[in-house]
């Protein structure tokens, strides 16, 4: 309020409290014309894009979106963001079609051997893996002991062939092992744990392991039913190989002492497992995407 306006500016004519007046400065010309321009813009916009509601519908606008869908049909919709997305997706699908057609037509082995296709698998598979698989199996597929299997090693719960990996991706998996604390006593579980440790050359008590051996192959515990007489597992049941010193559920590598390692194994035997759930991806991903992922996972290192 340091400067008074010159008296030439007219007032609105209102007076409050006897002497309080309001100047009436006209808007700048550029502002007024810009305002008129926005009105004209709105009228043009209303005719091009969806705008006014009328009854149970609305004015669709003259702008149309046309695209060619996966069946090769040309589709036309009035402009909206969903149609825009379809046009965008179909455009990308056409660009990727030669690759996905090849993925569909070629066998897993052919894809893996073809230099161009394996490049495609590497890039497409990497982003698919990152979006969908990495939260559990981690970015490099290394998994997490106690939770999710390592996909880069040679140990497969359900089989590492292309067909088995594909089956796992499509239908998911659910791991199960009964809790043996219900049928065995603590001493027996300890004996079994020592035997399991001995299978992969871990520190163990020989006497206990020998007793564990009997239990393992006996009917009371019946471990052999799932893990096999040679304890090398049965992939059709998802029962892991116990002789390879690769640990998924019992966190043996993290246990510092020999006693800690045995305790980790004991824990799994006693409480069993009702986890190891892998979701099914058949509803979320397309068949081609699953095939890409199958080859990608197979090529992570451990494919059989």
């Amino acid at each position: 309020m340091s400067e008074q306006k010159p008296q030439t500016v007219p007032t609105t004519g209102h007076v409050w409290d006897g002497d309080l007046q309001e100047y009436n400065n006209p808007l700048p010309v550029w502002w007024v014309y810009t305002f008129y321009a926005t009105v004209i813009f709105a009228l043009v916009y209303w005719t091009i894009y969806p705008s006014w509601p009328i009854g149970k519908g609305w004015i669709g606008g003259v702008s149309k979106i046309t695209y060619v869908n996966s069946e090769g049909e040309a589709k036309t919709h009035s402009w909206n963001t969903r149609a825009l997305l379809l046009a965008d997706l179909n455009k990308a699908a056409i660009a990727q079609k030669p690759y996905f057609d090849k993925v569909e037509a070629m066998s897993y082995e052919q894809i893996a051997k073809d230099p161009e296709m394996s490049g495609f698998i590497l890039s497409a598979g990497k982003s698919l893996f990152a979006d969908n698989c990495a939260p559990c199996h981690q970015a490099g597929g290394q998994g997490m002991v106690g939770f999710f299997p390592n996909l880069t090693d040679d140990d497969w719960q359900y089989g590492g062939s292309y067909e088995k990996v594909h089956e796992t991706l499509m239908g998911g998996r659910r791991g199960y092992m009964p809790a043996f604390s219900e049928v065995l006593n603590g001493e027996q579980i300890d004996q079994l744990a020592n035997y399991v440790a001995s299978l992969s050359g871990g520190d163990h008590d020989s006497a206990k392991a020998a007793a564990g051996n009997t239990l393992f192959h006996g009917e009371a515990a019946g471990c052999y039913v799932c893990h096999g007489g040679d304890a090398k597992g049965r992939q059709e049941l998802g029962a892991p190989n116990l002789t390879d010193n690769i640990w998924l559920w019992a966190n043996v590598p993290a246990a510092g002492s020999a006693e800690g390692k045995i305790a980790a194994i004991r824990g799994v035997i006693a409480s069993g497992l009702n986890k190891g759930v892998m979701p099914a991806w058949s509803a979320r991903l397309t068949p081609e995407q699953i095939k890409v992922l199958t080859v990608y996972v197979h090529e992570l290192g451990g494919g059989q």
Binding site: W16, R82, F148, V277
Partner: protein
């Protein structure tokens, strides 16, 4: 009748000015919002969308209590990158029973509109207790108390009654229940019946065992049940690519 309108009337009468200001502002909102109630296609006609079961609803309450919405949206926009990462764009129909909706306006974490059945229950439990043990680069806080706090189920029915007041078709009477059977089928209608709310909640929690611990019903059970349902109600394989295009 000759009324000589004078602007001064408004400027010298604060009550009149308040009323007229309110009317002027309402016009802006009304022309944008009101037509949506009359346009047929505002809520897409789609099969499968139902109100939440008592357990899912309690999980949703916990989702809001913990402020998950401040970092996670539940609204997949119709963009190619979102479609590739999260799945089909969200439909209005999918949040028709949400009070309030959880669309959100900011993503520090990923969108959760279709997180249901993407990961195992076990992943969710471990991830909520210690996010960085699953996703090393995560900035999500730990929520360990969800696992150790038992869910208060005593007010389940009262919460559903409140939602019924704002239009969610939870049933109190036999007639309402029968209407739900017609609309959603018997299995769902049973879950929406308020007199059976607590029994239904306990059954679902025990059957689903979402937190992997059968000794009780924790808040984790409810939250994971809710998360595992998100975005799974509509089977998009039943609809053509452009089935929902003409509704916008």
């Amino acid at each position: 009748m000759n009324i000589n309108f004078k602007h001064e009337w408004i400027e010298t009468n604060i009550g009149l000015m308040a009323v007229l200001t309110m009317i002027a502002i309402s016009v802006g909102g009304l022309v944008e919002i009101a037509p949506l109630f009359f346009i047929d296609k505002t809520i897409e006609k789609v099969e499968g969308v139902r109100p939440y079961t008592p357990l899912e609803q309690r999980g949703r309450d916990i989702y809001m209590r913990e402020g998950c919405y401040t970092c996670h949206s539940q609204m997949i926009r119709p963009f190619r990158d979102e479609k590739l990462r999260y799945g089909h764009y969200s439909l209005a129909a999918e949040s028709q029973y949400d009070h309030p909706f959880q669309w959100g306006s900011k993503r520090t974490g990923p969108d959760l509109a279709r997180v249901g059945s993407k990961y195992s229950n076990e992943w969710h439990v471990q991830h909520l207790v210690a996010p960085r043990s699953m996703v090393p680069e995560s900035v999500m806080p730990n929520y360990p108390w969800l696992l150790s706090t038992q869910l208060d189920i005593s007010d389940t029915a009262a919460r559903m009654k409140a939602l019924r007041k704002v239009g969610v078709p939870y049933s109190l009477s036999q007639a309402e229940y029968d209407a739900n059977v017609t609309k959603f089928g018997e299995t769902v209608a049973k879950q929406l019946h308020i007199p059976a709310a607590q029994k239904n909640l306990v059954e679902q929690a025990n059957f689903g065992n979402y937190d992997g611990d059968r000794s009780g019903i924790s808040e984790m059970d409810a939250l994971v049940a809710y998360l595992q349902m998100l975005g799974t109600m509509v089977d998009f394989s039943k609809y053509a690519d452009d089935a929902f295009v003409e509704t916008r």
